[in-house]
């Protein structure tokens, strides 16, 4: 098949792209070991988080290294409401997301309104995570301190708890598809173009009449609320949270690096990063463990340096460049210069 034929075939059969989605929904029908299921859930959760992160840090270029802050707020609100008031996480989760969004609005408004930019913004978000971790560790009478909160297991779907991992898988799959759809929609909307303009040159965007502060705040709040829901899911999936696991900076750095490896400038890149990295990391951890386990991570670090240095737009950027050369001059992508 020649290049032209292939291009023709792909444009005529757009429905082909739904096949992977159908396969993902059919996976639970197969007899899959629990551990593999766990890895799938984890990869989807990270894909979800990275896609949410990329809305503000990739599209709008406002790099946040403190997204676990919102993750933790979501997780802790749900867990504490359930623990002390027996409130079902379905409602507690909504409150948790609301809290995440409100805090993101406060932080975002304060930072963007007063023109805290670039690395200053990055470190403000980093500090906010550390602040929350400190508060939740020190208020141990309410939050359980470093030991964290354990939630009673009921196994009832009414309380966002399930007996099988498959159910969690379906939930996170739906969530991920939702955020993927949203991200794709944003990328091709006016809002998305505003964000790209802000990323490329904020002053120029402002000069064009774009209310940069407003759109940056909106992107930040949206991204934070989505991340908050990730935290809600985490609390119900593990039923045990500690300040370190939900607020820890490790997770923040992991979200950023995974998204950037996949490519944070378009809707599919972050998920690509998660699906490429998480299964391999988990598999090597399970197989080798101990000191040998550090070797794959070392290679991963070198890979990050390589991708950062030579592949603008990460793996996804590379694939797109491949597709463009396949399609010829016509299908030049939008807003993906870096």
């Amino acid at each position: 098949m020649s290049k032209a034929d292939l291009k023709d075939y792909l444009t005529r059969n757009k429905k082909l792209f739904y096949i992977p989605i159908v396969i993902l929904f059919l996976i639970p029908l197969l007899p899959i070991p629990t551990y593999v299921m766990h890895v799938l859930v984890l990869s989807l959760l990270f894909a979800y988080l990275c896609t949410s992160w990329a809305i503000v840090s990739g599209f709008a270029g406002q790099v946040s290294l403190g997204h676990t802050c919102f993750y933790g707020i979501g997780a802790y609100t749900t867990a504490l409401l359930f623990r002390y008031y027996g409130l079902t996480p379905w409602i507690g989760g909504v409150i948790g997301i609301a809290f995440s969004a409100v805090f993101a609005f406060i932080l975002g408004y304060a930072c963007f309104r007063f023109r805290v930019r670039g690395p200053y913004f990055t470190f403000a978000t980093l500090a906010s995570t550390v602040i929350f971790e400190g508060i939740f560790i020190s208020q141990s009478r309410i939050t359980g301190g470093e030991l964290g909160v354990e939630m009673p297991y009921t196994g009832s779907p009414l309380y966002f708890q399930f007996t099988e991992k498959v159910h969690y898988y379906i939930i996170i799959l739906v969530l991920w598809l939702g955020v993927l759809f949203l991200s794709r929609h944003i990328q091709n909307s006016k809002f998305g173009y505003y964000l790209f303009a802000i990323r490329e040159d904020e002053e120029a965007a402002e000069a064009c009449g774009i209310n940069t502060t407003k759109y940056k705040i909106f992107a930040f709040v949206l991204s934070a609320a989505l991340t908050g829901f990730g935290g809600v899911f985490h609390s119900q999936y593990y039923l045990y949270i500690t300040p370190k696991t939900v607020y820890g900076l490790d997770r923040s750095f992991q979200i950023s690096s995974t998204a950037l490896v996949g490519g944070s400038n378009d809707w599919f890149g972050p998920s690509l990063g998660s699906f490429l990295i998480n299964p391999i990391v988990e598999w090597t951890r399970a197989t080798y463990g101990g000191t040998i386990y550090t070797l794959p991570l070392l290679v991963y670090g070198l890979l990050m340096i390589f991708i950062g240095r030579f592949l603008p737009g990460g793996v996804s950027g590379m694939i797109q460049r491949g597709l463009i050369s396949l399609k010829g001059e016509k299908g030049a992508p939008k807003g993906r210069s870096q």
Binding site: G61, F123, G134, S257, L302
Partner: protein
């Protein structure tokens, strides 16, 4: 004067001194190259391991090992700058962050692989003792770290202000294009700055190795503190790094003294965010 208050001041000053050498180093790099070296704490970790192995294998006192560790890290800085940092400079923030997270991974996992995740410590008797002056308790290890940090910061200041090479560095940080037009080899100045900054970290590594545990993740905590301190003081500002270190050290020390040590960092960082709202480029920062 209240003894508690004095003790708080002393603790704050000592903590600030420890953050100072690291923060001054990162800011030196930022001033000249406009990038934050996110992996600075990991360089500190490597320096501490070098001091540790010199002590274990050759019996060199870490305070006497300063010239050796400094020299090794200086050379390491030249190599790192030439191979990885120089090409990074013109990339957008996201790609820089990815590369630095990669560097952090490489450093930490190399240390894990080579030296295992064990916590190690150097038993230098003098660093474990303390002196008490009218009920104020001063640990000698931290006092030495403060004195050496101040001395190295002053030396650096003198070097930047009085020597020709130092003036080249300052000129490059003020306006790279103009400096280049005046015939300064900017690439060489960048390499020198990076290596110098890592050498400074080498000094900190030697003074900190007797008082902190040495393990592959030692650098992480120092990293976060240094980022907050340099942003608070103003990225790239020499005095800003020193003011920031003292401010964060003091807040931490007084909060621990008056209420609860576990919330001290949170309060210091909260103050940081609040200051940022009034001074978006830090206390001594310049508008860009």
């Amino acid at each position: 004067m209240n003894v508690n208050l004095l003790q708080g001041l002393v603790n704050g000053l000592l903590a600030g001194g420890i953050y100072m050498t690291i923060a001054v180093g990162i800011n030196l790099i930022y001033g000249v190259m406009r990038i934050v070296n996110y992996a600075h704490g990991e360089v500190l970790m490597i320096g501490m391991y070098i001091a540790y192995w010199l002590f274990i294998l050759a019996g060199v006192n870490p305070y006497l090992a300063i010239p050796i560790v400094t020299a090794i890290l200086f050379v390491f800085g030249v190599l790192l700058q030439k191979s990885i940092i120089e090409p990074v400079l013109d990339l957008p923030l996201q790609r820089q962050i990815l590369i630095f997270i990669g560097l952090i991974h490489v450093f930490q996992n190399s240390a894990m692989f080579l030296w295992s995740p064990d916590y190690r410590s150097i038993g230098v008797p003098i660093a474990r003792e303390s002196i008490t002056i009218s009920f104020i308790y001063i640990p000698i290890g931290k006092l030495l770290a403060l004195i050496i940090a101040l001395a190295s910061a002053l030396t650096l200041y003198y070097f930047l202000k009085k020597t020709k090479l130092g003036k080249f560095i300052l000129a490059t940080s003020q306006d790279p294009d103009a400096a280049s037009a005046l015939g300064i080899d900017i690439r060489r100045i960048r390499t020198l700055t990076f290596a110098l900054s890592l050498a400074l970290t080498g000094i900190a590594a030697c003074t900190l190795s007797p008082i902190y545990f040495i393990f592959p993740y030692t650098g992480t905590g120092f990293n976060i503190f240094s980022f907050i301190i340099i942003t608070l003081g103003g990225l790239g500002s020499y005095t800003g790094a020193i003011i920031g270190s003292i401010v964060v050290g003091m807040i931490e020390s007084f909060v621990s003294l008056l209420s609860d040590a576990s919330i001290a960092t949170a309060v210091a960082f909260l103050v940081f965010i609040l200051i940022l709202l009034f001074r978006p480029s830090g206390i001594m920062g310049r508008r860009e």
